[in-house]
Structures are given as structure tokens and as C-alpha cells.
Symmetry: C2
Subunit: 313 residues, 2 copies
């Protein structure tokens, strides 16, 4: 069933210079081991973090189902103290809970005012521990966009999506399974915006998503201390095999003008792309005065025209 799994290539003990020269230009995912990520490797115990930043309020996803589902919104947002989140996310049964004693927690840290232009930056939101983590010199300092805490219960699985920026995920603690798909698989992903509608990638609904079986799966398991490079547009799905603490660093590798200025999450489509999507949406609307058969026909004609514009088939 479906194509075999391709392992994501692993590079051990490489320098930042090697990354920039030999890995980065490939625009292909890479698992990096034995990179110096700083003192966080040893220091970031739950006790230490609780002592340092335990009193910060954080907004977390809480769900009964570990497979968080963005269409059915099977999770709620709740505000917790960071210390309380750490306590709960390490356990599988809760004494204090919102929905059920077996609920799951997931934090994606935010900027102070995430509705505006304020992006997640550990240095700003958690300055007392920011120096513990060493962000490798994989990109120009000025291209830095955000650094995001990702902390979750064992079993938490995040829907498959893409980001418009290059990024690395630094898995400080806990094992995590990463499954990636190339941007060239976009037509096999059944996208709604930046998200795949295929929620169970391990047992997909093949009636609804027959083409998903054609998508080549790239996979690796990250251990504590590993870094994965996720190039922009690569679809990714994460599954926490253990309680995990990770830091995700995003940076801009294209002309800054191309990025949406109001995008604290760094996942809004590039400005020309948003415009193109909107124009294409309007082209469908323009067909609305036609009978159904004509509408379908001309949507296919447009698709056919678009297909002929794809360079790398």
C-alpha cells in the first residue's frame, strides 16, 4: 500500500559551514546529529524550566484525541502556567484537567501580541533561558524570523502542513517521528489552505484521498539533541513519541518584500502567491453564471492550462 518510506538523510558532526555549503542549497530535508545546541541539552529539565519560567502564562491546545484535527476542531485553547503545562504534559493521566483525565497538551509559543506583527521569539518572551540554547549559524542573523517553543504530551500528532519559510526544529528533549512530503506532491495532499485534509497519514481514507497513496513519504525519528532542517513548502507531520521540548527557528530566505507583513506565525502564503490564489478563486466565481456542466468543463480547461505552466512535472 503506497510507496515505500524514504529515510531522511542523516548528517552527523557537521559544521554550520558544511550545512550552508552542502546541505542548505539542496533544498531537501536533513536530519542533523551532534550539533552543539548549547546547555539546554542538560539544563532543560522540568524542574529547571519551572523555576525559571514556570510562572509565565501560555496558551495551549488541549484535546481528548492526540491527533489534533483542524477541520473538526477537536481541541480547545486554554491558558496555563508554563510550570503547570510541563507537569501535565509529562503525565498521561491528569488530576487537574479541562476535558478529561486523559487529555493531551500542545504548546506552540506565541509573540506577546500574536494578532499583530509580534512574532514568537524565545529571547523576548523567555529571556531567562534563551541563552541556554545555541542556534546554529545556518543563516544570516538578519534573516531570523522567529523562535517557537513546541512542547507536547506523548502521542500528540500535528496535522500535515507546510510553512513558507525555511526552518529548523531543535528537538531538545524527547523522541519525535517526522514525516515529510515534497512540495511537488501538492496535488496528492488534498490541501485546504496550508493544511492537508488527510489526517491519518498512517491509515488514510483511500476512498476520499486516493492520490495520497502516490505521495512519497520521507521519514525519520528525532532523538533528544537532533535537529531537522525543513525547507520551505515541504509538508510535515510530527508525532511525539515521548514528552517533548523543542525549539523551532524560522528564517527568511527570499526577498523580504515577498513575505506578508502581518504574519506572526510565518505560515501565510507569499504576497504574490496570495494574489494568484485570489485571482484563481475569482476565476471560479466568474464561471458561476454558467450551467454546472460548463463550469466543470472550464475549471478543467483552466487546470489544463495551469498544468502546462508547471516546469518540474
Amino acid at each position: 500500500m503506497g510507496p515505500s518510506v524514504v529515510p531522511i538523510p542523516t548528517f552527523t558532526n557537521i559544521s554550520a559551514d558544511y550545512f550552508r555549503k552542502h546541505i542548505y542549497p539542496q533544498r531537501f530535508p536533513a536530519l542533523l546529529r551532534n550539533i552543539d545546541i548549547g546547555e539546554c541539552s542538560n539544563k532543560w529539565t522540568a524542574d529547571y524550566l519551572t523555576e525559571k519560567i514556570g510562572d509565565s502564562n501560555v496558551k495551549v491546545h488541549v484535546s481528548i484525541n492526540p491527533k489534533m484535527n483542524f477541520t473538526e476542531k477537536n481541541f480547545v485553547y486554554k491558558t496555563l502556567l508554563f510550570g503547570e503545562l510541563l507537569k501535565r504534559a509529562q503525565k498521561v493521566k491528569q488530576d487537574l484537567f479541562f476535558l478529561s483525565p486523559s487529555e493531551f497538551y500542545y504548546l506552540r509559543s506565541l509573540g506577546a501580541d500574536p494578532r499583530g506583527r509580534d512574532v514568537a521569539d524565545i529571547k523576548k518572551q523567555f529571556p531567562s533561558i534563551a541563552e541556554d540554547i545555541n542556534i546554529p549559524d545556518f543563516f544570516q542573523k538578519e534573516d531570523f524570523f522567529s523562535s517557537v517553543f513546541r512542547i507536547g504530551s506523548p502521542g500528540v500528532q500535528l496535522w500535515t502542513h507546510y510553512d513558507v519559510m525555511d526552518n529548523i526544529l531543535i528537538q531538545v528533549r524527547g523522541r519525535k517521528r517526522m514525516v515529510l512530503y515534497s512540495p511537488d506532491e501538492a496535488l496528492n495532499m488534498y490541501l485546504t489552505g496550508d493544511k492537508s485534509q488527510v489526517l491519518d497519514i498512517d491509515d488514510p481514507d483511500v476512498e476520499r484521498f486516493p492520490k495520497f497513496l502516490s505521495a512519497q513519504r520521507h521519514e525519520c525519528v528525532m532523538n533528544s539533541g537532533d535537529i531537522i532542517f525543513i525547507p520551505a513548502l515541504w509538508f510535515h507531520n510530527t508525532l511525539a513519541l515521548e514528552f517533548g521540548i523543542a525549539v523551532n527557528i524560522f528564517w527568511r530566505h527570499l526577498n523580504y518584500e515577498l513575505y506578508d507583513k502581518n504574519d506572526p506565525y510565518g505560515n501565510k502564503d507569499l504576497i504574490p502567491a496570495s494574489r494568484a490564489l485570489q485571482m484563481a478563486g475569482n476565476s471560479v466565481k466568474a464561471l458561476s453564471t454558467l450551467p454546472e456542466e460548463y463550469k466543470d468543463f472550464y475549471i478543467r480547461r483552466i487546470i489544463s492550462m495551469l498544468e502546462s505552466n508547471i516546469k518540474n512535472k
Copy 2:
């Protein structure tokens, strides 16, 4: 290789009323036999037509290759007397010729000023013989759009294309093979505008056109006196098995406002469809500032969005 051929359903001795009630609403091709097409059945010999309209000038396609190719333009337009066309199109070797003694001829009659709004109408361009043909009452008189002479040498094959109007082809003389494909096959036809790039439908270039093999082929052979109903948007390819004289009747079955006013051939896309195609073309242009990989990616995203808008998958 490819799907089997589905025969186009044949209806014999049906009334115009039966056509309107039971065949027309299906929007599916139909071969109609034993319809009263008038005296043309017996009268339209080459001698008779030469006597009546032989001195009219007509513009014909002339080609060395019987498979007329619109991309390589392997034909030239030449003006001939109707009588001379009839003489030549009945022979396979010419004494007088433009390109070669074995050249092929094909006439698609035009209005007096085909650049303007003047459409082909046998009643106007050939009034002395127009009464010989009985156009069945398949549609409201006021919806009539054009009547087109189609006369050609044996072996002439016309590229696969669609028209935006419903039409019937009245095959007055000569056998003709008709191959049709449903509008739902648009993505398998490799279209350029209204034309399929697959020129040899019997031996397609499967490297270039792999999906063409998935297109279900509907086929019939018309004999003298037969009529075929070709619903709007159905792709069709004609192959003259003998010297042939046919009259093609087009009519408007949608709100007149939807049709392009400057369309003497009746094959311009409907106004909202042209607009939609243009907007979609602009959406591709909007992506031009992005790197290639992003451009391809977002074209696929647009395709994915469009696919989700197709009702009848």
C-alpha cells in the same frame, strides 16, 4: 492499449419531437438514421451542385497530409470555385493542384465577411440550393446560429476540438468516421485553446500524452443521410472515409448574453469562461516574481483548489 471503444447510440426513424424530448436532454451524442433531410439526398450530385453554385468562390484548406495539423499549420488556404473544389475533392490525383498532385481539400464554408459578425448560413450564401435540405425541428428557430458546408477529400481528418454550441452534422453524401470524447475528459485531451494537441488519435504519442489513453472513446461511422448530434463541449474528430458533403447546423441553447458577439465560427469560449481563463492566466503571471520551485508549488495549490470546485468528478 487504452479503453475500449464505446459505440455512439443509434436511433432510427425517430421524430423531431422524440429527439427534443428523449435525446436532447441527455446531452449525450447520438447517431440518427432515416431522418427526412430533404431532396438533397438525391439531388446533391456534383453535377447538380456545380450547375447551381459552381461559380461561387470558396476558401478551402489544402494540404499534402490528410491529417490537418493546426500547430504545424501543414495546410494552406486557397480560393477555388465551388465547382472546381467538387471536381478535385472527388479525385485522389490532381491534374491542376497547388502543392502536389496528391493534395487533399477541405471546405468549411464561411459567412460573407467572416471577420465580422457574419456567420455561415447556407440560406444566405447558397440560396439556390438551400431549400433542398430539410433542417429537422430539433431546436427553436430563433436559436439558430449557423449552417456550414463541410466538403472534403477522402481521408481528410480534422483535429479533435470542441464547440461551445450544440450542433448536428447532416452527412448528405459519403461515409465519415466520428470519434467523440466527453467534456469530462478535458484533462486527458492536452488542450491548446479548443483543440487537442493529440493529432493522431489512433496512434497517439504516449510519451507526450500519457493521459490520453485514459480518455474514453465514443465512435460511430456515418453513412449518407445520417445525422449526428454533437452536444456542446464534446470533443470530436472527423475522418472522411469517402468524398463527403455535409451540412453542420449550430444553435444556441444557453442565454444569448453568454455567447461572444464576435464569433462567426461559433467556437469562441462563452464570455464568463473567457474571463475566467484570462483571470487564471493572470494568476500564473502574478507568480512570476517567485523562484521556480515556489511558482510550481503555487500552481499546484491553485490546481488543487480548482479540483475541489469540480462537481462531477
